[in-house]
């Protein structure tokens, strides 16, 4: 009887345990591993991320300066951002929002990558 009363009193005085999610959003932790973002202007298209990705969801086309990524197959381990040589790949803190349609993220570099040069075309 006494335990029950004390429990009731404690619960009355305490804040509710529930996070009122859509009304108040708790900020993500600093270390949280969210979605992957690529700053395509910095990217050198070296392809290390594509090789290291355990889920193999990144493809890099050096010639066409294409970097594409399948967010629906990504497991958010953060390996790609860790091994990125140019620092263009970043892992954001917030999670990826639900979508109605699966789509591939395709980013196209503006110019041909600076480090890699195509063999000169000889006439």
């Amino acid at each position: 009887m006494f335990t029950m009363t004390s429990t009731i009193l404690r619960n009355l005085l305490k804040e509710p345990a529930t996070r009122r999610y859509p009304a108040s959003v708790r900020p993500s932790f600093e270390a949280a591993r969210g979605e992957i973002r690529n700053d395509i202007h910095v990217c050198t298209f070296c392809g290390v991320c594509a090789v290291k990705c355990p889920s193999q969801c990144i493809t890099v086309d050096r010639k066409a300066a294409d970097w594409s990524y399948d967010p629906s197959a990504c497991v958010q381990c953060g390996v790609c951002a860790e091994v990125c040589t140019s620092g263009s790949l970043q892992q954001a803190r917030d999670y990826r929002k639900p979508v109605r349609k699966k789509e591939l993220v395709v980013l196209k570099g503006a110019t041909t990558p600076p480090k890699h040069s195509d063999p000169p075309v000889t006439g």
Binding site: T18, Y21, V25, A73, V75, Q76, P98, V99, R100, K101
Partner: protein, 148 residues
Amino acid sequence: MFEKILTRARMRSPWMLHFDCGSCNGCDIEVLACLTPVYDVERFGVVNTGNPMHADILLVTGTVNHRNRNVLRNLYDQMPGPKVVVAIGACGLTGGIFRQAWNVVGGVDRVIPVDVYVPGCPAKPEAIIDGVVMGLEKFMEKQHVDIS
């Protein structure tokens, strides 16, 4: 008139059915975590049911393999229309990290039509709640189509 009231009622209190279709338990327990005090989706009227005949929303986690595709198909067919399917986690979307494994068919959309995709490995409870809300909008759209 009666139809409209019924629709509103179903929309305000959607009953969900959760099927674990070969997930690693990660997304699975996050769906359950949504029901527990900290996230508590029951305050929106969402009720977890075990019976497909009562369900409006089907939450599917995990990869589809050759054996559970029949179970999934079965559950989907038993649900009354209109129905909404929410696929959760990288595995439910495409097969995730396992999509090249021999017994994996792929994402849920290989077997049944999927309305909302919730990415993540595992998907966070917040994302799952967002997904369910998005599913409800879709539910409303479908309902209008059904009535007209």
